[in-house]
């Protein structure tokens, strides 16, 4: 079984994620794209774990999942708070922290 399709899929997913983060304004969508990138990398990790025949990559994937879950909790809470105070979830509107 060749690893190429998996790696290619992973790359495609990651690219979609990057484009999404860079182009979309809605914080929820940006967030989803970040998850997409994380999972693309998980896919690559698991694939390489399989190719090399050890569990290091899979362990790393688990770590990424746990961190992602924690991040979702914090991130969604922040987005909710911002939405409540300004009735908007656009990342471009939340640009006060600057020079």
């Amino acid at each position: 079984m060749s690893a190429t399709p998996f790696v290619v899929l992973s790359a495609i997913l990651f690219t979609i994620g990057v484009i999404g983060v860079l182009t979309r304004r809605n914080a929820i969508v940006v967030f989803m794209n970040i998850e997409l990138m994380l999972n693309a990398s998980n896919l690559a990790l698991v694939t390489f774990a399989r190719v090399h025949g050890n569990l290091d990559g899979q362990v790393a994937a688990f770590f990424v999942m746990v961190v992602a879950a924690a991040e979702v909790v914090v991130g969604l809470a922040i987005i909710m708070t911002i939405f409540r105070s300004r009735r908007s979830a656009s990342v471009d509107d939340a640009s006060l922290l600057k020079y």
Partner: protein, 647 residues
């Protein structure tokens, strides 16, 4: 000028070879410590707490110092002539590598006489100040400064090395600054104090460099060490040393070209003027030259310079004294002139050292007397100093008049009075050395008689020219008693030279005078000539001032010479043209360079950096997505870099 001078005498300067202090001499340090203690107590406790007793405390410390000085002096007399040099080791002051300085005192005939003068006359001036400063609410502070002044001067004359002298030297400068500017609410006083300080700094450069040079050349700064090896140094080195110490002496003793501060220093309270002019400060320069005799004896060039400075100053001061209407400034001019005599004598070498010191002592008596007398007159005339507003005061203030007259007769060298005994030998010695210096001294004597007679006539004789509402009254006892003591000393001080006592007494320090050096002109004839010149001076004063009515305001139409003398012979103008203006321009140039060059570079680079930062700051836009883009860009660059390395 050098060619006119005789070759230096074959007799080398005596080597300073002191024995350790023991017995009564172990209290030497207390003589200095007492006034220091007095100054500290009065300064630390401050005016309000010490108001009641500060003045008597100040008088007391100096009085006890005087008693101790007398005890030491008597003890010194009790020793053999060759054994009259005592040193007291206090502690090791500086010990760094090969540089080793002991804090020590040297008590020999020279410093013994100075101790008596400083504490004796200084003490009388302290006593007088009790009355004179009675209505000044800063009197405790005044006494603290007076004590500091005396302590510094005592340090100067008792130190056994040049560094110690330097310490006292600077202390005297500081105290004079504080006292001249004592009434600092007057701008003139503040400026005069600053001027005295700055001009003294110029002289102090000479003192500092001289002290360093003694160490560089001889490896020690102590008199004992240097006097033992002075002859071995090259004549160039000794000449430079002599000239440096002469510069120092010019600053402290107000000799041309550093004379300009002395007349302005009259802004201080009158007792300060008396202290500066009689007991301390201006005598320091003469002391330094005489103390350094082991250097000057080996260098004709430096001695010549001293003689020239002395001769020029004695005429310079006398001429200024002739034109001043301010009684204190007339006396200040005479101080310059008299110190000029001392410098002249000191520059004559072995032939003159003893006479310089003798004249210094006599001058201490009669000048303190006259300054305090002038203060008493001012006291009577509501602090008016203009002699044109005086006149006919002889009856109003009889004690002041009589004591002042003693000082007057002494300074003009009236036969029998102290100045006669001390000035005549100087003029004789000057003639013995070369005719030019002798003539300068002789003419100076005539001019002295003229301007002092003028002061006398304008103040105590003639018609009343008093301002309205002025009722002259004699000063209180506390002021007249010092006057009487000093007046008596002015009259009979000459007894010190009876049988050549003071010369023999000083011989262990300065070397013996040989008969040859006493002058080529028959002594008695020269004395007659001096007296005739003096009488001529008095006569001229009588015809110009005594007979005519003195106008209340100074006449504006006067000769060029009078104008020049009134302007202190343009000493200030010369300083301004030669030193101040170019210095000003130089500083202004530096300032421009600093503003445009240095500041321009620093400010410019800062502005450029600031502008750049402003640009860079714009990158921080607040848009999350642009941050994400830069993150991506960074990541891509990292990946490319890794690939490039691996491939």
């Amino acid at each position: 000028m050098t060619a006119l001078l005789q070759a230096p005498t074959a007799v080398a300067a005596p080597v300073v070879n002191p024995v350790a202090a023991s017995g009564v001499f172990s209290v030497l340090w207390v003589i200095i410590a007492l006034p220091v203690f007095g100054a500290l107590v009065l300064l630390v406790l401050g005016g309000r707490r010490t108001e009641r007793w500060a003045h008597w405390f100040g008088v007391g410390t100096v009085a006890v110092s005087f008693v101790l000085s007398v005890i030491c002096f008597v003890a010194l007399l009790g020793r053999d002539t060759g054994d009259r040099s005592i040193s007291q080791h206090l502690y090791t002051w500086v010990h760094a590598g090969s540089f080793h300085v002991e804090a020590g005192l040297l008590f020999d005939p020279l410093s013994a006489l100075f101790l008596l003068l400083i504490t004796g006359v200084g003490g009388l001036i302290h006593l007088y100040s009790v009355g004179y400063m009675e209505h000044d609410d800063r009197r405790p502070r005044f006494f603290a400064y007076l004590n500091l002044f005396v302590a510094s001067m005592l340090t100067l004359v008792l130190a056994n090395n040049y560094l110690g002298v330097f310490l006292g030297w600077e202390g005297v400068g500081l105290a004079s600054y504080l006292l001249i500017g004592f009434w600092q609410h007057r701008t003139t006083a503040a400026v005069a104090a600053k001027k005295a300080f700055v001009v003294n700094r110029v002289g102090d450069i000479g003192m500092a460099l001289g002290t360093m040079m003694t160490f560089a050349v001889f490896g020690t700064t102590s008199f004992a060490g240097i006097s033992a090896v002075a002859g071995k140094a090259s004549s160039t080195q000794l000449t430079i040393l002599g000239l440096l110490f002469l510069l120092a002496a010019c600053g402290k003793s107000a000799q041309v070209p550093l004379q300009s501060w002395l007349l302005d220093a009259m802004e201080g309270p009158t007792p300060v003027s008396a202290l500066i002019h009689a007991a301390t400060m201006v005598t320091a320069g003469v002391y330094l030259v005489v103390r350094s005799n082991f250097i000057y004896d080996h260098t004709v060039a430096a001695q010549t310079a001293v003689v020239v400075v002395g001769a020029v100053t004695l005429l310079w001061g006398a001429i200024i004294g002739c034109a001043k209407d301010d009684i204190k400034k007339a006396l200040a001019g005479s101080t310059m002139s008299q110190i000029g005599y001392m410098m002249l004598a000191a520059g004559l070498g072995v032939a003159g050292y003893a006479f310089a010191i003798f004249h210094l002592l006599m001058h201490g008596f009669f000048k303190a007397n006259m300054f305090l007398g002038a203060g008493s007159v001012m006291h009577a005339m509501d602090d008016d100093v203009d002699m044109r507003h005086y006149g006919a005061l002889g009856k109003a203030v009889p004690v002041t008049f009589l004591t002042f007259a003693m000082g007057y007769l002494a300074i003009i060298g009236f036969p029998g009075f102290s100045g006669f005994w001390s000035k005549d030998p100087i003029i004789e010695a000057a003639f013995g050395n070369n005719v030019v210096a002798g003539l300068a001294a002789l003419i100076g004597a005539g001019v002295t008689a003229f301007y002092m007679t003028r002061v006398m006539l304008m103040t105590f004789f003639g018609k009343k020219r008093w301002a309205e509402g002025v009722h002259p009254h004699e000063s209180p006892k506390v002021m007249t008693i010092p006057l009487m003591v000093l007046g008596a000393l002015s009259a009979v001080g000459g007894v010190l030279i009876a049988g050549g006592w003071i010369i023999d007494f000083l011989t262990p320090v300065v070397g013996p005078i040989s008969e040859h050096e006493l002058g080529g002109v028959p002594k008695i004839w020269l004395s007659v000539i001096i007296v005739v010149v003096m009488l001529a001076g008095i006569a001229i004063a009588w015809f110009t001032v005594g007979r005519a009515d003195v106008p209340r305001t100074a006449p504006a139409k006067v000769s060029v010479f009078t104008k020049a003398a009134r302007a202190d012979l343009y000493g200030d103008a010369i300083n301004e043209e030669l030193l101040m203006r170019p210095g000003d321009r130089f500083v202004r140039g530096l300032l421009t360079f600093d503003d445009a060059g240095v500041d321009g570079f620093v400010d410019g680079s800062v502005a450029a950096l600031g502008g750049l930062s402003g640009r860079v700051r714009r990158w921080q836009s607040g848009f999350v997505r642009s941050y994400a883009l830069s993150l991506l860009g960074g990541a891509v660059i990292v990946v490319i870099a890794m690939l490039a390395v691996n491939l």
